[in-house]
Symmetry: C2
């Protein structure tokens, strides 16, 4: 490993005190603007990374987990995977929910730096480039799980094979004979939503079938989003005979819409979820769904973060863990008439 | 507020250095045994409480949450309540699952003290008296949610009205005409289990009915525990006509056992859960259950902890939030034959 640039070397080169360099690093405002720029340019040129204090690696060391959907079993399974690995490594895990984007960027960053967190895992909650850059300067590595957008190539990320999952769910329904398959994505801007929809389309293309029109909706991954989307599809003149619901909670909303419209699942409406949360096997009918290894995704992200904290390089910045279709009782051939 | 004893006063009285007092406070071993005893006696007599360093109260300050059932939606709802309040107060929340009791007591305590955590909330995970005493000496307050045993009177605790919940569930089933009501508790040693069972018995007594024999089981609050308990009751010569399942996940296990034994819910077997987790309204039939305000219990515990951290006294060390019966479709009168 090349010798690291020290803060003292930066101070000498910039002809300022060590404490001034430190202030720039820590984003304090009481530094003259041209001094700040000169110091920052040197920090950037020399690729300075803040040295983690030795005492941070012992008892009391922390990593952060920021999670958008802390209020769903989905987020919980990721959390348990992260916690397990952090605990084994003797690291305390600071958990934050995203209450608003503004809160995440400014206040969270200040707190994270103040408590000397070793690194952070971000779930469904991307950082703006400025925040990412500040973390980079402080030498605080991050790992993204299910990034909002495709993460930049230099950001470590862990996800599931969403394209393959969307493909498998749709292929299963096509195989049963469905030709008008509705689909409910998550929020439209999410990378995982786009990958699942791409899988849905690719399965149609592979079977030589046209993509049905007018039966694509976007939801919020929660029960109410699935309910609204399914209601709007079931009231169509030509409603779908099957719905790929995009999440298990969406699927529960689809079940409720089916009850409201008097459509029996699966004989009059097939439903496929995504996630395989624990309740998927307890519902009636038990839910056919695409399983994501959420616990393992959390654990993998945590192990990746530990490697980055330890200064190791990664074989691949981006990892996708396999999804698998779990066929239960909510899918059947469409009615023949 | 009376002036606090300082560490320097203790050192003078004990005729030792400040650093020796500090070592005793922090549990270091390199202090002669009789010196340690002399210092400790003075610390106890003067009611010394470690002063929290001012910098801990600013950015980067932490509180701890230790949770036994991190792998269930139950724990998640508590977590979201705690997180919301901690976040509003600008405190980072360190979340630990209990992987083993030994790990909790020793390693967790070391880490908590090393990271200067302001206080801790313990969910279903009591501390042994020694650990509690060490936290007290360090001036680290704790709040217990659903303590394993009744917490000592000087420990702040938050729970739900488990007795009233068990009573309401049983009264509802008795009112429908059931006379042989099975009951599945959580782990036998838990205070909440005992309170719910006491409610079950009291409802029988209030109705002038004998407590049925041979239909009490203990579970683990998870699906498999409910399944096993229900199987063993349904294979009795005189099986119950209704089961108060003790948790919603237990109730899902009871549903599965009912399917295995070909007993329709609710016409051949009524089922009542406890918790009202989100899936309770998605199951078929939708589950009648006793709602616990889990999110609010977490938030209340966090607010209580903040008051203790701020040096305020509590009106009551123990708080019970109200449960309420939510009647859905899993309960009905027993078959008349």
């Amino acid at each position: 490993m090349p010798a690291r640039t020290t803060i003292a070397e930066i101070a000498r080169s910039a002809d300022v005190s060590v404490s001034t360099v430190s202030k720039v690093l820590n984003g304090h405002s009481d530094v003259a603007e041209d001094t700040r720029r000169r110091v920052q340019r040197l920090l950037d040129e020399r690729g300075y990374r803040k040295r983690r204090a030795a005492h941070h690696r012992g008892h009391g060391a922390l990593v952060d987990l920021v999670i958008n959907n802390l209020d769903s079993a989905w987020g919980l399974e990721i959390l348990t995977g992260v916690e397990e690995v952090a605990e084994s490594a003797g690291l305390g895990l600071v958990v934050s929910a995203v209450h608003s984007r503004a809160a995440l960027t400014r206040r969270w960053l200040d707190s994270l730096l103040a408590r000397g967190s070793q690194g952070a895992i971000l779930v469904l909650s991307d950082l703006d480039p400025g925040t990412r850059e500040q973390l980079r300067r402080h030498g605080t590595p991050i790992v993204v799980i299910d990034g909002v957008s495709q993460p930049p190539p230099d950001v470590a990320s862990v996800g599931a094979t969403n394209f393959a999952g969307g493909y498998a769910a749709t292929e299963h329904l096509i195989g049963l004979g469905h030709r008008r398959i509705g689909v409910i994505g998550g929020p439209e801007q999410l990378a995982c939503t786009r990958a699942r929809l791409a899988g849905y389309r690719a399965a149609h293309e592979a079977a030589g079938l046209p993509i049905p029109r007018g039966v694509l909706r976007y939801g919020n991954f929660y029960h109410d989003g699935g309910l609204r989307a399914a209601q709007s599809m079931l009231e169509l003149d030509e409603p779908p005979t099957a719905i790929f619901a995009g999440s298990d909670m969406h699927a529960m909303g689809v079940y409720e819409a089916a009850r409201q419209f008097g459509r029996h699942v699966p004989s009059e409406l097939s439903v496929v979820g995504f996630d395989d949360l624990n309740f998927a096997s307890w519902t009636a009918p038990a839910l056919t769904t695409v399983r994501q290894p959420l616990h393992e995704m959390g654990a993998t992200a945590a192990r990746t973060l530990l490697r980055l904290i330890g200064g190791e390089s990664l074989d691949s910045a981006s990892l996708e863990l396999a999804t698998s279709l779990v066929v239960r009782d909510s899918t059947a051939p469409p009615e023949s008439d």
